[in-house]
């Protein structure tokens, strides 16, 4: 876990992504502080204070969350298999520990990034948004679990990178379309993807957490069945 977390912060790609998130928070907080009239206007139009303050960072996470988690972690399992370094790991710890360790390492990176982003926002606006923060963490929990499943499912890193880019772009679009479509397959997608659950009652966040946990279990089972 520690190794994954350290590796995440050592890679240029992940540093850029973390900086991008923090920068978005910083800029949106600055905009809010500099433009109290626009904020009042938005509040009077029916938006809550949370929605106004966290709109930018939440939107960035919802749109780019999948793409960025794929960018950082599409090869988190299959690279170890491809380079056969997994043989060193599997002779020391269980396959369950390997999957969970990698998951926790990557998740910790995202929690740190989101915490810093919301921290910057909170420090500048002097307001705290625990519900939105939890929604962002839950959404990224779902993304990381899904990426881990794909990395366990696809053996070649090149294929997982290609699939990651496609899915990273497609999933937010599918999520948006599914939200308003009536066809059964779109409705099914609405309930499988996390977007729908982040808009309703607070307890609904349990659903993407549960789906993410299922993805994690599937990743463990997939790795357990493999000859390495």
């Amino acid at each position: 876990m520690r190794q994954e977390f350290n590796d995440s912060f050592k890679s240029i790609r992940s540093i850029l992504i973390a900086v991008f998130f923090i920068y978005i928070s910083y800029e949106s907080a600055g905009f809010i502080s500099r433009n109290p009239d626009e904020v009042s206007e938005l509040l009077s139009s029916g938006m809550t204070e949370n929605q106004v303050y966290t709109a930018a960072i939440a939107l960035v996470i919802l749109i780019f969350g999948f793409l960025f988690t794929f960018a950082i972690s599409h090869d988190i399992i299959n690279r170890e298999i491809e380079t056969k370094t997994i043989r060193l790991l599997v002779t020391k710890v269980s396959r369950t520990e390997i999957v969970l360790g990698k998951f926790l390492g990557v998740m910790l990176f995202w929690i740190a990034t989101v915490t810093l982003s919301y921290g910057v926002l909170g420090l500048i606006t002097k307001a705290w948004f625990p519900k939105d923060y939890i929604h962002s963490v839950v959404f990224l929990f779902y993304c990381v679990s899904f990426v881990l499943l794909l990395s366990s499912l696809i053996n070649k890193t090149r294929v997982s990178m290609f699939a990651g880019i496609l899915l990273g772009i497609a999933i937010p679009i599918i999520g948006l379309v599914a939200e308003y479509a009536n066809k059964w397959h779109w409705v099914a997608l609405k309930y499988v993807l996390p977007f729908h659950y982040l808009q309703g009652a607070a307890w609904l966040v349990i659903v993407p957490v549960a789906i993410g946990a299922v993805y994690l279990v599937l990743s463990i089972l997939l790795l357990k069945g493999k000859d390495l």
Binding site: T85, L88, T91, K92, V93, D227, L228
Partner: protein, 304 residues
């Protein structure tokens, strides 16, 4: 002596190709157990199955009394040097060991890692990145990571193949030192001379089955169809004379070759040697040297 490993009718197939076709053996506590075989004979597959890298197809095995399903519980007691594993190229030697050490959930100081690197002969390469390591250095660091956590059972898959003689001697001495410390070691090799020198028992694996198993001495002396005898006489013994003596003594003695000043004969048993020597003296041969040549493991291995 306790059996650390018990393997029973172990089979492994990849698709339609059966690599292990029913392997049986036990490894006792504190012994160095060698596995030898041609490329593709199934040595590495056997190590992979026993160490949890791949799954068996049928049959079973127990390590420290645990079946395959309980292998995770004894991994901390095992050290494994896999054969073709790539290492983490970007890491420095000492960082690689630190990472591997953390997986073993053992706390080491920097001095501990240095001492481990010294043991394998890599003390001066601790700060170098693994990508700059030679093939021999990679083997050594791979052995070092297998020794992390002071394991009771160590698997070494071809630890000396492809490395220079000096490093190979260093590794052989290390294996012997580990044996003195009471470790149980399983190693595979193509070097039969090496196995002869360091192993308590050797299993010869061919086409997915163990066809010979025993101590090097047992393998060299047991079940031999014939043994080779060197004779230095004056005059040098001729092939026709060998045939004549064989008939006269009713022995199965065959002419096997002619040296500069000696002949090589094949005799059926060790008991034939003094009978033959006495007959030669009786036939006025001057006998300068009589030597029974022990078969090498290589010859045993090559025998069908």
């Amino acid at each position: 002596m306790t059996d650390i490993i018990q393997v029973d009718q172990l089979k492994k197939s990849y698709g339609s190709s059966e690599v292990l076709k029913g392997i049986n053996f036990t490894v006792r506590q504190g012994e160095v157990f060698g596995i030898v075989g041609h490329n593709g004979a199934g040595k590495s597959t056997l190590i992979h199955v026993l160490t949890g890298i791949t799954h068996k197809s049928s049959g079973g095995f127990r390590i420290f009394g645990q079946p395959e399903s309980g292998l995770d519980a004894v991994k901390k007691r095992m050290g494994v040097m896999p054969d073709t594993s790539n290492l983490y190229e970007q890491m420095r030697g000492v960082d690689f060991l630190r990472y591997m050490g953390r997986l073993k959930q053992k706390t080491y100081s920097g001095a501990d890692y240095l001492s481990l690197l010294e043991q394998v002969g890599l003390a001066d390469a601790e700060q170098k990145r693994i990508k700059s390591y030679s093939f021999g250095m990679r083997k050594k660091i791979s052995i070092a990571q297998a020794l992390l956590g002071n394991p009771e059972l160590i698997f070494l898959d071809e630890p000396t193949s492809g490395i220079d003689p000096e490093s190979a001697i260093h590794i052989r001495n290390l294996v012997l030192k580990l044996k003195q410390q009471g470790k149980t070691i399983i190693l595979t090799s193509h070097n039969l001379d090496e196995l002869d020198r360091i192993c308590d028992r050797v299993a010869m694996i061919s086409d997915g089955v163990i066809n010979k198993l025993g101590t090097p001495q047992e393998l060299k002396t047991g079940k031999a169809e014939s043994m080779e005898m060197l004779l230095r006489t004056k005059p040098v013994l001729q092939e026709s004379q060998v045939r004549m003596l064989s008939e006269k003594l009713s022995l199965d003695v065959r002419y096997a070759g002619l040296g500069k000043d000696h002949v090589l004969l094949k005799v059926a048993t060790e008991e034939d040697v003094p009978l033959l020597a006495r007959a030669l003296i009786e036939h006025d041969f001057l006998l300068y040297e009589v030597k029974v040549r022990e078969r090498s493991l290589e010859e045993v291995f090559m025998e069908k």
